[in-house]
């Protein structure tokens, strides 16, 4: 197991955003986390990336208890995330966005007060390699605010890839994308998942059914079901709260 969470709880005042979730994530597999809006998917992700601390419970990554560590420690342990709503350095170039992420994870470069940035040329090379993986290398010197939406989504992934994380958390990577862009993104994610453990939050259930090894279903902050896509498809509870809703509307 690369990651396991044990009785994870997150409360805001009296509101329980995530209640008592226990799950294990095998190394090398892709797990999709699905659930209707407000099911606690984003809260779960914020907990796993260290952005917020749990009210109770433990997070074990590669055998070490990392519960309650500051967020930058999560990143340095090898957990990277992308955001549902694009969250980049808008006035910097695509290249600089990824280079900064590489720098943050390089112990020799991140606190360097003395050498010129070009002294750490290895970081720039790694950054370009990440850009190439998502197909953004030709656009490396464009300011983020001038990139198209789909390109910004791809850059989110490139930034997350910067430190070659062992655990990659992707929060609705296809949010707001056209069907064509969505297909490209899912192909990219499938490629990335061959080399590392991926956790994917996705609203559109159809997308993940063919892609994920395992699926967790969250509903009202609780873990409703977990299993292979076939098991989830056959689960009566899931059909009632999720698939039924999907049939009548989007999904």
């Amino acid at each position: 197991m690369i990651l396991s969470v044990d009785c994870l709880v997150k409360e805001y005042g009296g509101f329980v955003a995530l209640a008592d979730v226990t799950a294990e994530f095998p190394r090398g597999q892709m797990t999709a986390i699905i659930g209707p809006n407000g099911a606690g998917k984003s809260t779960f992700f914020s907990l796993l990336s260290g952005a917020i601390a749990p009210s109770a419970g433990r997070i074990i990554f590669e055998g070490a208890n990392i519960t309650g560590l500051p967020q930058f420690r999560f990143a340095r342990q090898g957990i990277a995330r992308s955001y549902q709503i694009t969250n980049l350095f808008p006035r910097l170039t695509a290249h600089e966005n990824v280079r900064l992420a590489c720098q943050a994870l390089s112990a020799s470069a991140r606190g360097d007060l003395w050498h010129d940035r070009s002294y750490h040329y290895g970081l720039a090379e790694t950054a370009d390699a990440c850009l190439e993986q998502v197909g953004l290398l030709p656009r490396r010197l464009i300011e983020v605010s001038r990139l198209a939406h789909g390109e910004q989504r791809a850059l989110e992934i490139a930034v997350a890839l910067a430190g070659s994380p062992r655990l990659l958390l992707l929060d609705e990577p296809t949010a707001g994308m056209s069907p064509e862009e969505t297909k490209q993104m899912m192909d990219l994610i499938a490629r990335l998942a061959t080399e590392r453990t991926v956790l994917l939050v996705e609203h559109k259930m159809k997308l993940v059914m063919g892609l994920a090894d395992r699926i967790l279903v969250l509903h009202h902050g609780r873990l409703l079901a977990s299993g292979t896509p076939d098991e989830i498809r056959a689960d009566t509870q899931v059909r009632r709260v999720y698939l039924g809703e999907g049939r009548s509307g989007r999904g």
Partner: protein, 305 residues
């Protein structure tokens, strides 16, 4: 950096008075220290008078009360300012946005009133006197500090040394990390930057630079007025950096030059010169939000692109 060096080296030959060029040099350095935090890291402090003043009083008290040499006094001034910045920084970076600004303002006013009360050390409202340095001697060299040109270039040497160190830092990966914090703090944290540590280091370096400006100003004036610590002095740094261009290297010096020139010219005409400074400042912020130098540099970059 080479532009700044050239401009400041030529300043005494173009400025209308020797006093004005020294003021541009020293207040420019003060605004540069402030700009490090505001323009590069995105933290708006309203309390930088504390570090300017700590440098001035640190150096002044060492000279006047303890008979320390001028060179040592500068070091002491810078050290005192750095320590104070570590203290104020550690407290204030816990809050963000306008709260950060208010905490720095409040703590700086605390320092002001403390200095106001400690009359034995600081001279209270009469200011600190008795620190006249007329001859600078360091080993075999001795210079006449009363000669305006010699004085300017001695101060210039110190300012250049500080600016050189700063430009190293800004061009180094740490400078990039500061920009990352300015551009998007939450993303910087998610990438793996220790945002608090970056802010604290930037805060302390900023305090050191302002402390050097203060120490040199004490040497230059031979007196430390209590106003050095007053919140209006903090406001000077904010105005100069904004006028010239926050987040640019030369901007604070341009801002200091404009501000001090306006003061020089309008104070000859009217005692209400601050009214004109206010109007010009407002117009500049409205029509040149990137500051004079920031706007010029922006034009140049767009024409080249």
């Amino acid at each position: 950096m080479p532009i700044v060096a050239a401009v400041l080296a030529l300043l005494p030959w173009v400025a209308p008075s020797q006093a004005l060029s020294v003021n541009i040099l020293l207040y420019g350095l003060f605004a540069t220290g402030f700009n490090l935090l505001f323009g590069y890291t995105g933290l708006l402090s309203f309390g930088h008078a504390a570090f300017f003043g700590a440098g001035a009083y640190g150096a002044g008290i060492a000279l006047a009360h303890y008979g320390v040499g001028w060179f040592g006094a500068i070091f002491i001034g810078v050290g005192v300012a750095g320590m104070l910045a570590l203290l104020i920084g550690a407290v204030s970076i816990r809050s963000r946005g306008i709260y950060f600004s208010m905490v720095t303002l409040a703590l700086a006013q605390l320092v002001y009133y403390a200095a106001f009360q400690a009359t034995d050390w600081t001279g209270g409202e009469n200011g600190l006197r008795g620190l006249t340095v007329s001859v600078l001697s360091l080993g075999p060299i001795s210079l006449n500090f009363l000669d305006p040109t010699t004085k300017y270039y001695v101060l210039f040497a110190f300012v250049m040394f500080a600016l050189w160190l700063l430009s190293r830092m800004l061009n180094a990966p740490f400078g990039a990390a500061m920009e990352a914090v300015r551009e998007n703090e939450s993303r910087a944290r998610a990438c793996g930057f220790d945002v608090r540590l970056i802010k604290l280091i930037a805060f302390v370096v900023s305090g050191l630079v302002c402390g050097l400006a203060g120490s040199l100003n004490a040497l230059h004036l031979s007196i430390v007025p209590i106003d050095t610590l007053y919140y209006q002095t903090s406001g000077l740094a904010v105005m100069m950096a904004l006028l010239g261009g926050a987040g640019t290297f030369l901007g604070p010096f341009i801002g200091a030059a404009i501000f001090l020139l306006i003061e020089d010219i309008f104070s000859l005409w009217t005692p209400h010169w601050q009214l004109f400074v206010g109007i010009i400042f407002m117009l500049a912020v409205l029509f040149m939000p990137r500051g004079v130098w920031g706007t010029l540099a922006g034009w140049y970059r767009e024409r080249r692109a």
